[in-house]
């Protein structure tokens, strides 16, 4: 089997990339999806708040997905569902497995759109037994929204990621008692609006700078003890708070799913846990592109779609016309910045470039400094936080004159 472009993953990134590639003139596109329906995690994100940037509409997850599914279907884009990709090679052979067997698709270009998964509680070091009643927030979301089952009645949520906040509200609406959300950092990793509308609306307390001291229970969770931590994240004795509960949710972050990428020998960035890419979202392996949460974890699907369209168009160009010569400079993270994406900027492209970055800690009245070796420019931001991706734009001229790009955030007050 041969296709111009194979897209691995039929979530928001894969769908948007497919439509963009098709519209850029590459009609021979195949989307491979492991679940029985496309749409990815949006299928279970029944809350609203999606699409405000892109569509100026306040959509629920399924509604947002529907817009892209409709576009893909209108174009007759081929989608193989219930199909796993078992292997990807650097020469763009994609091995798939489904009910009809194992087969290999040879592609001119591949777009990685596998998304991310939740960090497991194993990533946390927690004392106590391992009773039933411990769920990741996303698993609980699937239980409630897709299967119609309530995971428990009295719930403590560990970690203040957005899915945890959304689930605090969802479980409350479904009749469970959410006792609190606990966060080890001095700020939430979730969006401010989610703290307001998911916790404050329902009087659910958020304990910042708290960690879990113990999870109790024989067979089933019966309680959780939280403890306050000092600046070095060490528990402060005497600050313990105990909660009787039957369920604990973990919302401790997302991690790009890059096993296939890694085995294909595509270079990964330890900061993003995704591939190293250029402005076209092309990885260091020619003809392999990446977009969405497999590339770096986004907080808004609107930005996933935007990024996927960049990758889709670039993959179409690559599949139809072959590769170009590049003149790369690196984009680096400076003070208080955890990563910059893309990591490489192509001066040959002669086009403006939006650079995305995340800050290490929250600032009000922040000053973003973009240093290109040749010049420095500063951009002011009212507030920046690790949970909210930021961006700066560079013009074609600024990139043309640059030796490198380094983004730092300073000033302002914590």
């Amino acid at each position: 089997m041969k296709r111009d472009i194979v897209i691995i993953g039929g979530g928001p990134a894969g769908l948007a990339a497919a439509v963009a590639a098709y519209d850029a003139g590459c009609k021979n596109v195949l989307v491979v999806e492991r679940e029985s329906e496309v749409g990815g995690v949006l299928k279970q994100c029944i809350h609203n708040g999606f699409g405000l940037t892109r569509f100026k509409e306040n959509l629920t997850g399924p509604e947002y997905a529907h817009k892209f599914i409709e576009e893909a279907e209108k174009r007759g884009i081929e989608m193989l569902k219930d199909t796993f990709v078992t292997e990807l090679t650097a020469d763009k052979k994609v091995t798939c497995m489904n009910q009809s067997g194992i087969f290999t698709v040879e592609a001119k270009a591949v777009i990685l759109a596998m998304g991310c998964r939740e960090r497991s509680k194993g990533a946390l070091n927690i004392a106590g037994t391992r009773p039933a009643g411990l769920f990741s927030a996303g698993t609980a979301q699937k239980y409630v929204n897709v299967k119609g089952m309530l995971p428990g009645k009295r719930v403590v949520i560990l970690g203040s990621g957005d899915i945890g906040l959304i689930m605090a509200r969802r479980l409350t609406l479904e009749g469970a008692k959410v006792l609190c959300v606990s966060e080890i950092m001095p700020y939430s990793s979730g969006l401010r609006r989610n703290i307001a509308q998911c916790l404050n609306d329902f009087g659910i307390p958020l304990y910042l700078e708290h960690t879990v001291a113990e999870i109790e229970g024989e067979g089933r969770v019966s309680g959780v003890t939280l403890v306050k931590v000092d600046e070095n994240k060490r528990p402060i004795a005497g600050t313990e708070k105990h909660f009787d509960c039957d369920t604990v949710l973990f919302s401790v972050g997302l991690i790009p799913e890059n096993e296939l990428t890694e085995r294909a020998g595509v270079a990964l960035d330890p900061r993003t846990k995704g591939a190293v890419v250029d402005g076209d979202r092309q990885t260091q392996t020619e003809g392999v592109f990446a977009c969405g949460n497999v590339l770096h974890v986004h907080d808004l699907v609107d930005f996933v779609s935007e990024e996927a369209e960049i990758a889709g168009r670039a993959a179409a160009e690559y599949a139809l016309q072959g590769g170009r010569a590049h003149a790369y400079i690196s984009a680096e993270n400076g003070e208080n910045v955890t990563y910059v994406l893309p990591q490489r900027v192509d001066k040959n492209k002669n086009a403006p470039q939006k650079l995305f970055f995340r800050v290490r800690k929250a600032f009000r009245n922040a000053v973003v400094t973009v240093d290109t070796g040749a010049r420095r420019k500063t951009v002011k931001k009212i507030a920046v936080a690790p949970g909210e991706m930021e961006s700066v734009a560079l013009s074609a001229e600024e990139i043309g004159g640059a030796e490198y790009v380094k983004i730092a955030v300073t000033g302002g007050d914590r």
């Binding site: 405000l52 509604e63 609006r193």
Partner: protein, 118 residues
């Protein structure tokens, strides 16, 4: 009153006070923040999203306009008691005028019927 605007991901920090002429709002980056703060002070409203049970599936639903925050648990009770027995397309009304003020509960995904529904 200090508020976080929930109308968009920017999450502006608003401060709103009742004045003789109405409500004074500051901190909003756009007019939506003013409208939000005014409503928060007088009668807070939210779009309610949930699911309705159907045979073998949960169908995601939403209210087609914001409903009074004070009514949310009463409305949830109605939604939880409802059963969907027929196919619906995305956007179809499932429960009419659920809050007595004209808000309908509509499907946010198709159920049954269409082959590629989610």
């Amino acid at each position: 009153m200090e508020l976080v605007c929930i109308e968009c991901p920017r999450g502006c920090l608003l401060s709103a006070e009742k004045t003789e002429g109405g409500v004074s709002v500051s901190g909003n980056f756009c007019p939506k923040g003013r409208a939000y703060a005014e409503a928060e002070i007088t009668e807070p409203r939210r779009v309610l999203t949930s699911t309705i049970r159907a045979a073998g599936a949960m169908v995601p639903v939403r209210t087609d306009r914001p409903v009074k925050k004070s009514m949310i648990f009463a409305l949830m009770k109605k939604i939880r008691a409802a059963r969907l027995t027929h196919a619906v397309a995305i956007g179809d009304t499932i429960m009419e005028n659920i809050d007595g003020e004209g808000a309908n509960v509509v499907a946010s995904a198709s159920y049954g019927g269409e082959p590629c529904s989610i």
